[in-house]
């Protein structure tokens, strides 16, 4: 197990280096002139633009630019944005918000999703099952920005102006603590939550039909033990796989939710940097997300062994 872990971690290093090169190349190939973009709708002053290009090596070849980046990175320097801000500062400012939001959303999606799935599976065809199926279908078919704006307007604005109930902040404000994350996390979790519920339902229903479950029931075990220890543990494997991959996308793909609730997280930072063609920021953020994905995947693989003792690593 330990050796397996170390091997996986060592494998991650070339993946990471290859990815930075690839991403840097893609960022380099993005169309547009980032210096002109700084000047907005006016023409960038030729002299100022030339000085900035020189300062940020934009007038050099791709390989030269990548070399500057990678040598800086080797010294722990993530570089500067074209407006003179430290990329590391930008990432560390945005990261905590994203982690908090993603973890809360992840918790909501895992707990509520799995519970709803279990209840639906155990009451197949009955009212509760139909309710879960119908409501998840609704959530999946409505786009996130609609859910987001509707909840913001109804719970944030209307509840306060019409009823004086000021619990859900309209937009993110750090001073509100966890309250500030509630609505956005719910919105962010909603789609995945629906998938998790459906996946749990199907997976559990299938395992409930398996021979070993029938055996367990025949042995006279209580139903809670049959479901909890025997069926669920096996049924959870596809769900854990889904959740592991989803953690990564919750971190990097929360652009829309972040925008609606004005959370200045990693997703928004990445989208903005792509728009502005800020190569150094893009590579920094993406590398970080790759690490998150790698760690989450590793954790998932480790969990398999816990859930199903037949799986061994060497």
């Amino acid at each position: 197990m330990g050796r397996y872990l170390i091997r996986r971690l060592i494998q991650a290093i070339p993946v990471l280096i290859g990815a930075t090169f690839l991403i840097y190349w893609l960022a380099f190939k993005l169309p547009g002139d980032p210096i002109q973009a700084l000047a907005g709708e006016k023409k960038a002053d030729p002299l100022v633009a030339a000085m900035l290009r020189e300062k940020y090596h934009l007038d050099e070849s791709f390989l030269a630019q990548y070399w500057h980046y990678i040598t800086n990175l080797a010294q722990g320097n993530f570089g500067e944005t074209l407006t003179g801000r430290s990329v590391w500062d930008k990432i560390t400012e945005a990261f905590p918000y994203t982690v908090n939001l993603a973890l809360l959303a992840f918790a909501i999606e895992a707990v509520v999703g799995v519970l709803a799935g279990i209840m639906a599976a155990l009451r197949r065809g009955r009212f509760l099952d139909q309710l879960v199926l119908l409501s998840t279908l609704l959530v999946i078919s409505v786009p996130v920005f609609v859910t987001g704006f509707v909840l913001q307007l109804s719970l944030g604005v209307k509840l306060k102006t019409d009823f004086g109930f000021d619990f859900f902040p309209v937009s993110f404000n750090e001073a509100d603590g966890i309250r500030a994350y509630l609505l956005p996390a719910l919105v962010l979790a909603s789609t995945s939550l629906a998938y998790v519920a459906r996946l749990t339902r199907t997976s559990l229903m299938e395992t409930m039909r398996a021979d070993y479950v029938r055996t367990a029931t025949a042995k006279g075990l209580p139903r809670s033990r049959v479901v909890g220890r025997h069926a669920l543990r096996n049924a959870l494997i596809p769900i854990v796989t889904f959740l592991g991959a989803d953690l990564g996308s919750l971190m990097g793909g929360a652009v829309i939710t972040e925008k609606i609730f004005n959370i200045h997280g990693i997703g928004g930072l990445l989208a903005e940097s792509v728009y502005r063609k800020e190569g150094t920021v893009i590579v920094g953020v993406v590398s970080l997300l790759i690490i998150v994905y790698l760690v989450a995947n590793l954790a998932v693989d480790m969990l398999y062994a816990v859930l199903d003792p037949r799986i061994r690593y060497a």
Binding site: P31, D33, K42, A50, Q152, G156, H264
Partner: protein, 540 residues
């Protein structure tokens, strides 16, 4: 309908103004006793908060609260008024003597002296600092030594043209006479800087020490907020009423608007498009709708495509085939007004209806002109626009109008970003017509002419059509040399007449700014650049 709303607003403004003066005479020292704090909208500024390095609206908004320049502009008339300057005099429009008022201090207690302006301008003019405001110092004598060009080193660190006479006086010598210099001085590149700036300009930009009505309250919390508080040693007449203002940083105007509705945000000076339909009902008198300094044009590549756009009759025909009323009303919901001069209506020197016939929708005459002039080869043009700024609808409307009225085959061509289109125009790769816009740096008629249509603007400005007219150049030069402001303005208007005759670009609309504020504040005024005049705002 539109006339009615703006009339209502004017009436409202008069009432507010009267209330404000009544307040002023009622309690003399209300500055220190009044208070309260508010939160207003902001987008993350691009650079550190240094006036010389700020050329975008968000940074300018904060700087406007933290700094006071030599002159400022009246919120309603846009006339230039003295602020920190006691007097700005010249006899030949080339050498200017600037005397400063007593009583202005930086937030760290230092006096605002002549040296603080000279320091700031020298820094901005030096190419090693690559400051966005650098081109504004090009007119001052000695600027070439500080900005000799790429791959060369500056040979001086101080502008030869700036001379400190005494603590409160300095003189500025320009390379050539420029009558609008005084008007230009309100732009944020000309703000002063305290001695403390020299130690660490980068750190300074995170928590600038200014001389304005508000001072920093802590440092800039990036992507979150910038807090400022009242500076109590500011000269009494301009002192802020509020105790503090938090600029909360948004990157989505819809969210800010929802916060405004819930009164967690008190002033929003840029409304989202989605709000335009209902905002006047929802906010009533608290909705401010007034002209803004921008002008939108259809640009024409005169030099790279003379076959299509070289004849003035063709340009006139295009202009007269555009139904400006329909575009501003139906597509922009009244957030734009039909253009009737190259100069924006806000600016002293604007003449209503100056475009005359060419600015009036007349499809019959347009078609006549077009046919007489022999049309465009191939009867086909492209109309370029940037797809990221909500321009698709009006550009397509123009394309359809040209199709219907002139029978030209017009293709609307999207570019990813405005900059991409500019680059292709600059490289002469793109030969179609294009959307173009200009918004002023300072409220002078000159600022709507030289930076867009002069020879120097081909390389250093927004003259993407490479339009050249010697008569226009001569008139501008004459106007620059004229010391008498009224006389100078007349000459600028004559220059304006030249481009009205030539139509190098076709003005289509001018912009309107729309802002709204919540019930808990009053005395909200928005200036011509669309910035909030925060020192005047009070809490209810």
């Amino acid at each position: 309908m539109r006339g009615a709303t703006s009339a209502k607003w004017v009436a409202g403004a008069v009432v507010v103004a009267m209330a404000a003066t009544a307040c002023g005479t009622g309690k003399d020292d209300s500055g220190s006793s009044a208070g309260g704090s508010i939160t207003v909208v902001l987008g993350e500024p691009q650079h550190g908060l240094v006036g010389q390095n700020t050329a975008e609206s968000e940074g300018a908004e904060v700087l406007n609260a933290l700094f006071t320049g030599l002159v400022q502009y009246d919120n309603k008339t846009n006339e230039t008024q003295l602020a920190v300057a006691e007097s700005i005099d010249t006899t030949d429009s080339q050498t200017w003597t600037i005397k400063l008022k007593d009583g202005y201090t930086f937030h760290n207690g230092d006096k605002v002296d002549a040296q603080s302006f000279v320091r700031a301008w020298n820094w901005g003019a030096n190419q090693d600092n690559a400051a966005e405001g650098l081109p504004f110092f090009a007119k001052i004598e000695g600027s070439d030594e500080l900005a000799p060009g790429k791959d060369k080193k500056p040979t001086a660190t101080e502008l030869k043209g700036l001379k400190v006479v005494d603590e409160k006086t300095f003189t500025v010598k320009l390379k050539a006479p420029f009558s609008q210099f005084k008007t230009m001085l309100g732009y944020n590149a000309f703000y002063p800087l305290p001695k403390a700036f020299d130690a660490d300009p980068k750190k300074f930009g995170e928590a600038p020490i200014g001389n304005g009505a508000f001072q920093m309250d802590g440092v800039w919390e990036h992507n979150k907020q910038i807090k400022v508080k009242r500076y109590d040693k500011y000269p009494a007449e301009g002192r802020a009423k509020l105790q503090g203002v938090t600029f909360k940083i948004y990157d989505n105007l819809d969210t800010a608007y929802n916060d405004l509705r819930a009164d967690t945000l008190q002033i929003v000076d840029k409304l989202p498009v989605s709000a335009m339909a209902s905002v006047s009902q929802e906010f009533g008198d608290r909705y401010i709708y007034k002209p803004e300094s921008g002008v939108g044009y259809i640009g024409l590549p005169l030099k790279t495509n003379p076959e299509a756009f070289g004849k003035v009759e063709i340009r006139k025909a295009i202009s007269m085939a555009i139904d400006r009323d329909a575009i501003t009303k139906t597509i922009f919901n009244g957030t734009r007004k039909p253009a009737d001069d190259f100069i924006n209506p806000l600016i002293p020197g604007y003449r209503k209806g100056a475009l005359g016939e060419v600015g009036t929708y007349n499809p019959t005459k347009a078609k006549e002109l077009y046919t007489q002039a022999g049309g465009i080869p191939g009867n086909k043009i492209e109309l370029g626009y940037n797809a990221d700024g909500g321009h698709k609808e009006w550009i397509e409307a123009v394309a359809n109008q040209l199709k219907a009225n002139l029978g030209i085959e017009v293709t609307a061509k999207p570019f990813t970003k405005f900059g991409d289109m500019l680059t292709e125009l600059g490289d002469q790769k793109y030969k179609g017509a294009f959307r173009m816009a200009w918004s002023m740096d300072y409220p002078a008629a000159e600022n709507y002419l030289r930076p867009i249509f002069s020879k120097v603007a081909i390389d250093n400005g927004s003259n993407y059509g490479a339009y050249v007219n010697e008569e226009f150049e001569t008139l501008l030069d004459q106007a620059d040399k004229t010391a008498d402001p009224a006389e100078a303005l007349k000459l600028y208007q004559q220059a304006d007449d030249v481009i009205i005759k030539d139509l190098p670009y076709i003005p289509v609309f001018t912009y309107m700014s729309s802002s709204a504020y919540s019930k808990s504040v009053k005395n909200v005024e928005i200036d011509a650049q669309g910035r909030m005049d925060l020192a005047k705002v009070e809490r209810n």
